[in-house]
Amino acid sequence: MRPPPGTVQAKETSPVSLELLPDLILTLLLLIMAWGALYAPQRADAMTLFIAFGIVVALIWARLDAPDLALAEAAIGAGLTGVLLMHAARELPGELHQTNRTATYWGALAFAVVASLMFLAHLLYDDSLMSAGLLDAETDMTPRLRTLADAAVPESGVEHPVTAVLLNFRAWDTLLELLVLLFALSGLRQLFRDGQSSENRATSQWPESLALMSAWARVLAPLLVVTGGYLLWRGSSEPGGAFQAGSLLAAAAVILRLTGLLPPLRWSSVLLRLSVVAGALFFLVVAAATAIWGDGWLVYPVAYNGLLIITIEAIATLSIAITLSLLVIGEREDLRT
């Protein structure tokens, strides 16, 4: 059914087969969700459609054979980002029910129509153009880099190629991603209005949660933590990893905080600030150690490959979880007062 992994031959069968039917419906759903997220008349509706958009994108990643991306999209893109947006809008009175129409409505519509027509033409006519000699057929599209990477995976300390790439071959990129998260966090801190009035502070608590909500949160949170741990542990041999696990832990913190079962996450807490920095810091320490005493910047010693990767991932998971929790439900307070 599927060609063996690692080789991609030139397309000989028609691209328009029945297998495309669910994909076409998914694409249609995607366009509708994207449209709704931008141009729904009320902002609250637009945000809900944004979350639905995230779910559809996760399904599309699944159809494109990218399970790590599907996991990350379902956890972070659909879940946490949507909650974050809703929280941000909630802080601004009246934002939720404002009309959302902008001047680029017709431009976006025209673009969507033209893009769909172009894609449809590619789907239907490329074969006939190729057989008429007007379009060069794509032969042997196996990327050279992928062959090299696949060959090097067994020595990287983990078995899953995506984890090997993220945490060994391109560990520098992952380190920078952790730093980007830190920058996002400090950027968010700048946005808090200074001198929050006392009444704002008094009502910063969430509404009294229904008994059902607290009970449900008590059931969901351990499930989230266990699934997060499972994804982290499994990241070495199957799709999973630090970001997905961290976001599940953050989701547990969010739901516990919103139902009042967790005390407020204050930015002034030293423990929280330390754990936020810990992931990037440990990664930097490892990088510096390998640069000074080892073979080079972030070139792991072969004997400690797997151990290093697992430790980095574990600490990064904690960091990512706390960063995401602070981003979504950290107390909006000004540290200077």
């Binding site: 998914l26 996760a58 699944a62 659909a78 809703m86 608590q205 509404p207 989230l224 989701a251 919103l258």
Partner: protein, 81 residues
């Protein structure tokens, strides 16, 4: 298998129409719930179709996150008491 996947996606599409033409915000959250259940069904079908167990894990994560998102959004949209 393909037909099943297409049918559930089409029913999600039909439900979405209703969801967008309704007055209250609770209807949108309802549409979210329906879309996530459909997505989970699609992923389970995909797991069997491609004989790959990882899609069941993605379905589990989607189920968990859909539950969290609904509770979080309800709590955020309620008026402060």
């Amino acid at each position: 298998m393909i037909w099943l996947a297409s049918i559930i996606l089409l029913s999600a599409l039909a439900g979405l129409w209703r969801m967008s033409h309704s007055p209250t915000i609770a209807d949108r959250l309802l549409g979210l719930q329906m879309l996530s259940t459909t997505g989970i069904a699609f992923l389970l079908l995909l797991a069997h179709w491609q004989n790959n167990a990882v899609w069941r894990d993605v379905a589990l994560v989607l189920a968990l996150l859909a539950a969290v998102v609904t509770v979080a959004l309800v709590q955020m949209l309620r008026r402060r008491t």
